[in-house]
């Protein structure tokens, strides 16, 4: 026991060196004011605190980064995959015939039908409503013929004639 204590005595004397390590002069004079100003400003969320909170809420993200740290090859593989996806997207977006024409036309027709349906009820008065009070909140839609892309007339959307009448007192 005493032997080991004696052995450690030398180590403890060496460890005393750490007590002589001191921060820059004046550091402790400014420290309280820095803490209080951060408290006052409500700036407790430093980037590190934000990162702590993020990792606490999403531990899988931390594990994800740890995998990258442990095996840097994964970083390269991940970056390559992202680049390939980006390249593929650019090339695919640049091709005009990427989507079949029939599919495009079908999509356009389907999108035009609801547009016509939406305009009609706006202008149709409800049974209990007086005809004189019938107003449209979107008259432009009702007066213009509904067209699809590339100026094709939509056969389902017909112009609706609207008459405004102001009630007399």
């Amino acid at each position: 026991m005493n032997q080991s204590e004696n052995n450690f005595e030398s180590l403890r004397r060496l460890l005393a060196l750490k007590r002589h390590e001191i921060p820059p002069p004046g550091y402790f004079d400014d420290f309280p004011s820095q803490v209080l100003s951060r408290i006052r400003a409500g700036e407790a969320e430093t980037p590190r605190a934000m990162a702590d909170r993020l990792f606490a809420e999403a531990p899988w993200l931390l594990n994800f980064f740890r995998v990258f740290e442990a095996k840097p090859a994964f970083v390269g593989a991940f970056a390559c995959t992202l680049c390939l996806l980006l390249l593929f997207g650019i090339i695919y977006a640049g091709r005009p015939d990427a989507m079949p024409k029939t599919a495009l036309l079908a999509a356009m027709t389907q999108s035009a039908v609801p547009l016509a349906d939406v305009t009609a009820p706006v202008l149709t008065p409800s049974p209990g409503q007086q005809p004189g009070l019938m107003v449209s909140t979107n008259p432009v839609l009702s007066l213009e013929p509904v067209v699809t892309l590339f100026n094709q007339q939509n056969p389902l959307a017909q112009p609706v004639s609207v008459s405004f009448s102001i009630p007399s007192n």
Partner: protein, 207 residues
């Protein structure tokens, strides 16, 4: 195994418990001047503990500030089961250990300078001129080797060495801070010293 404890550093300016309790009560009522007083009392010890754990001044500065801010925000939950000092220490230690776990494998030392007294400390002068086989090693090199050896320890072992051998806290106080029993503190301290002795064997050879 029972180890001799170093004489705990008696700080003559240590607050009486009643004084500390009064300050804590005032802070709870929103008195920031009272908190300023508490920060001034404990800043050096909290900073030093974190610094000796991280061996990095910038990290220690950030973590010390965050510890005091968190303590302020959490003061409403402080039930007074332990002293404010022990509670604050626990916050700082937990924050530091969490930080070190995330920082793993990214060790960067940014050491504080040694004060003027180090050059005149008879124990340390002996290390440089007598005990060290490499007599040319100066205090700065010794400081760097010592910090590097400390960083090789696991966080709980490093913490025990810092709190006991550097800060001079008793086993009992350390057990409260680390929320473990005194036996665990003693065994960790013994193991940590053995490890350090191995790492620093060149500098600890008997004359």
């Amino acid at each position: 195994m029972i180890m001799a404890e170093p004489a705990a550093r008696q700080d003559p300016e240590s607050p009486a418990p009643a004084d500390e309790e009064a300050l804590v009560r005032r802070v709870r009522l929103g008195d920031l001047e009272a908190y300023d007083e508490l920060v001034r009392r404990y800043q050096e010890r909290i900073y030093a503990t974190i610094y000796h754990m991280t061996s990095n001044h910038e990290d220690a500065n950030d973590l010390a500030q965050e510890s005091f801010i968190k303590a302020f925000q959490a003061l409403k939950t402080f039930k007074g089961g332990s002293s404010f000092y022990t509670w604050l220490y626990r916050i700082a230690v937990n924050k530091t250990i969490n930080f070190l776990k995330q920082r793993k494998n990214r060790v960067h030392m940014s050491l504080d300078d040694l004060d003027f007294n180090a050059e005149h400390d008879p124990d340390l002068v002996a290390f440089v001129s007598d005990k060290t086989p490499r007599r040319e090693a100066g205090l700065a090199e010794l400081q760097e080797k010592l910090n590097a050896a400390m960083l090789k320890l696991s966080e709980p072992h490093r913490l025990v060495v810092v709190l006991h051998d550097v800060q001079g806290l008793s086993h009992d106080e350390i057990a409260k801070i680390m929320d473990c029993n005194i036996g665990t503190v003693r065994s960790r301290l013994f193991y940590a010293r053995q490890q350090l002795q191995g790492y620093l064997s060149d500098y600890l050879k008997p004359t």
